[in-house]
Symmetry: C2
Subunit: 183 residues, 2 copies
């Protein structure tokens, strides 16, 4: 997973993957029919090991304020970058790359990003500021959040300064915390 995460789908070469997995071609092609199938399997693994925890965080009732959950998630992302991890998000990178030329991969990626987006919606519903707002608005905000999240992850991959990422994240939080005008 790490190799795909670091290098992206297309760029991850078989030799690199094999070294990362500590096996050889024979075993890989015995277990997975080809590179694409391997990647789809990895996407499932990523969903379990990265997406689901993130969604769990966004849905965690132990943090009553949904906005705070979102803040925690974004903080995690920023913290990762601070520690030198510039891999970004496997899904976001796949969405950007030629991976999304393939219908199966594009579908799997969209599915996982959809889960994240619904996670944001759940968190918003648990926010005092947004709980009482119309469903449509929360839906739109969760769309904006998944977009923001994707942008953040992509810019993390490029060499954007940590300050940009931090300001960007705190700005979106500030905006979402501002109570909407009555009406």
């Amino acid at each position: 997973m790490d190799v795909f995460w670091r290098e992206g789908y297309q760029e991850a070469s078989l030799p690199a993957l094999l070294e990362g997995m500590g096996i050889t071609r024979g075993s890989l092609y015995k277990a997975f029919s080809d590179k694409k199938t391997l990647f789809l399997t990895i996407l499932e693994h990523y969903e379990k090991s990265a997406v689901e925890p993130a969604v769990a965080l966004l849905s965690d009732p132990e943090t009553p304020d949904g906005m705070q959950r979102i803040e925690m998630l974004l903080d995690k992302v920023i913290e990762q970058v601070k520690q030198g991890d510039r891999r970004g998000c496997l899904l976001c990178t796949a969405a950007a790359g030629a991976a999304s030329d393939d219908a199966d991969i594009a579908h799997a990626v969209a599915e996982s990003l959809g889960k994240m987006q619904r996670g944001f919606a759940v968190a918003l519903a648990a926010s005092p500021v947004h709980a009482t707002r119309p469903d449509a608005e929360r839906h739109a905000f969760s769309d904006a959040l998944i977009t923001q999240y994707t942008g953040l992850r992509i810019l993390a991959r490029s060499r954007a300064s940590i300050e940009i990422l931090e300001r960007s994240a705190s700005a979106i939080l500030q905006l979402l915390r501002t109570p909407p005008p009555i009406g």
Copy 2:
């Protein structure tokens, strides 16, 4: 440019580029020393033909309200997708891909994205809602906007539904139009 735009830096093959340019290898390597140099030249061209008009739009005093300029820009992006153009943004795709492993390319990309970001800042400064706010806040919002823009462009490349993109764009506009609490 279109070939790189559609396929990304790494994925764009020499034969594809040659066909797109209507020339053959001999001429290409006469004019540009290699693929990377060609791409850097293309990035300059993209900056002139795509980034600068966008920045001009964001700075256009004929539209007095800066927020409206931003809305126009996002509308353009959405409109492009509506017309079936899923190429996204050359810079954003390059930022996501292995292109940003190369320091020169990463630098050029960051430079151009920086121009966009400053464009957003200029537009915000021309908005009644934000003109009187602290510089630091506008700066942070412009960071959030370039992040949002990147996310939008990446999701446009993947097969995200047009509705997500539309809601995402209008949500961020709505948030930015909400006057901040006094203080």
